[in-house]
Symmetry: C2
Subunit: 394 residues, 2 copies
């Protein structure tokens, strides 16, 4: 059971805005802000390298806190510039050949889809998307059939799509990948911080995420989980640098044994320290408590939104996330967002181009509104949002 | 002629340390610090996406200021997480085939060398290093011979190596690449901010740099220049995302026309704004004035250091940079650095592994001390450094 009053006191932004854009970037706790600004001040005072050396242990805590969140060890975590960067580094470790199959879903993140298509163009990889269940979400049995018949080089699933309230069955797919010894990459960008994400349960080889969304950390920070299997198979990103490997002789290099081989040497240490604090904060509040509260908030919000005249909710699936996609024929998504913003209510827009397969299937040819609550939101804020929306759409 | 008193007032760090680690990370001006902390405060107050939207024009100024520094246009600039990241994105745009030659130098940055060797391992690329002049620096005539005989897929030169005072003849090599229509990639990580760097004079296709070194910006920010030739040839990074391309249909994507196609969607906007201010600051001080003052400071420092008993200076070449590499048999580099640090004097260490070809040729089997002055350093600070070194090595 989380203490709502305390988490709101910790969050200066709640004094200024009603923030339902946590799937974009959440509001940072004061301790995250302090971690960043204190380090910037230290860098300015004694120098950037010198500040990093002084804060070595605090920087290392980024890896241990992130590992705790995912139920793994610090050696399996690489810090990256963002989730897409983490995803590219993971993909780059796979020496794709002509005819290799990437098996994915219709709901995988748009940037991942574009990366697959770029691999198709460069190396002749084939991109195959498993069928969806009628109720929404990828069909595990179709995944199983395709894994057996196509023997994919990689299975890639986005845990919580950015454009729908869906939660994909990543554990069931992971079980299949393990049985058939297929590489498995999970995009957990929208799930870490709002739901328990356990890499041992998911059985993935790679998992990517960002810090700014439901983890409430800084913009411009992400991370990559790399399994022991990947590390012991000597897989490495295509562009490894002097941090991930050592230059052994004119024509040879030696890889770092840990997930460090997926990192660059240079880091924005202020952000690393902010992210470390954000992850510690999430652990202190408790991911299970966060997930429980989010479930409750979203249930309330979905129920109330469904009653607003002119509103259509687009979320599907047996399990729903803290992402609510709303469409109205009465106003464009841009108009709704602007009208809410004028009342200091933050939501975001899911453009059609970010989800062409999902939106087309749902008959959505335009952008939709994305509402993403998080545990520090209140019932009063939900009421204000719903009342304001009613007024805007009246 | 720059105003030393003013630039020192603008630089809070000079009150605390004598900073000769500008080739590591320089001391940030107060305006850079303010740009970052103000944006973090805004993000905390109104939300990360909302703050970026509000600061859209200020963010765009990153591109125009960076373009002004390099004598190009904003559309040719991509913001990246660091210089190595920029370098990897550039390399990833070249569809290397078995037998392709990468022609480089013995002094190219270690991370670039490891990236070339990784490409060698993955795609069967051949890495060839042009011979050096006896006086130091790559031989332009050997470059010319090798470009003619090997027809390289790529020529890659590091403008100012991290491990020596050398300045490589990047304009002369660029002239060759242009004549023979060969792709040309310049690593300007250690030159931008201390020397004039003009992409029109260099005739490069790609140029990479970082913001934290001689540009005095934040850690964890870099940039990539991409030529119009590269853009019009539809070259794109291997891992392009929804910011660099749009998802046109299930199996196609369309590239952004500008260098934006080399960027990720997500950015640490606080750092982007800090970097924008750092680049504006460098332009305001004047790169020509900075280069002139650095030349003078380094001449003074090299002359004085050469007289210190037990010191050997390792820099070679006709033109020297603001990087001074010093070795002493009397103390290890680690001991010297620690002893200077105890007196609040910052220098850094060039490990042997970062420069195996250069250091081996110079008979250096161990680490060396790197001293990198910048225009805000004073003659008094130089005297203090030299006096302290004398005492340490006595």
């Amino acid at each position: 059971m989380l203490d709502l009053a305390t988490v709101r006191v910790d969050t200066p932004g709640v004094q200024h805005v009603i923030h339902f854009n946590n799937a974009g970037a959440s509001l940072m706790p004061q301790s995250v802000i302090d971690a960043m600004t204190n380090h910037i001040a230290l860098e300015a005072q004694i120098g950037g390298y010198e500040a990093a050396a002084q804060q070595k242990d605090a920087i290392q805590a980024f890896y241990s806190a992130t590992a705790s969140l995912l139920n793994t060890t610090a050696d399996n975590i690489a810090a990256t510039a963002n989730a897409t960067d983490a995803y590219a580094r993971a993909l780059s470790a796979i020496p794709f050949q002509q005819g290799d199959v990437i098996l994915t879903t219709t709901n995988d993140y748009v940037s991942n889809q574009i990366a697959f298509l770029s691999l198709q163009k460069r190396f002749g990889v084939e991109v195959v998307r498993a069928a969806d269940e009628a109720s929404g979400g990828v069909s595990v049995s179709d995944m199983a059939d395709k894994i057996k018949s196509l023997r994919p080089r990689l299975v890639a699933v986005t845990h919580v799509p950015t454009n729908s309230g869906l939660v994909q069955p990543v554990e069931a797919v992971g079980q299949l990948c393990r049985e058939h010894d297929v590489l498995y990459l999970v995009d957990a960008c929208q799930s870490v911080g709002q739901l328990p994400v356990d890499v041992r349960q998911i059985h993935c080889d790679f998992l990517t995420a960002t810090c700014r969304k439901f983890l409430r950390g800084p913009r411009g920070m992400g991370f990559l989980y790399v399994s022991d299997n990947v590390l012991s198979a000597n897989m490495a990103p295509l562009f490894v640098d002097l941090h991930g490997a050592s230059w052994a002789s004119a024509d040879t290099f030696e890889l770092e044994p840990t997930a460090k081989r997926f990192e660059d040497w240079e880091f924005p240490y202020a952000l690393v320290l902010g992210a470390a604090e954000a992850h510690r904060y999430a652990l202190a509040v408790g991911v299970a408590a966060i997930a429980e509260r989010n479930l409750q908030l979203c249930k309330t919000l979905r129920t109330q939104l469904a009653l607003v005249p002119g509103v259509r909710l687009l979320d599907e699936g047996d399990q729903l996330s803290s992402i609510i996609i709303l469409y109205s024929e009465r106003k464009s998504a841009e108009e709704i967002k602007a009208a809410l913003s004028a009342e200091h209510i933050n939501v975001s827009i899911s453009p059609h181009g970010a989800a062409i397969l999902d939106f087309d299937r749902k008959g959505m040819l335009t952008a939709a509104i994305r509402i993403s609550p998080h545990y520090f939101n209140t019932d009063e804020e939900i009421t204000t949002l719903v009342t304001t929306l009613k007024r805007i759409l009246a």
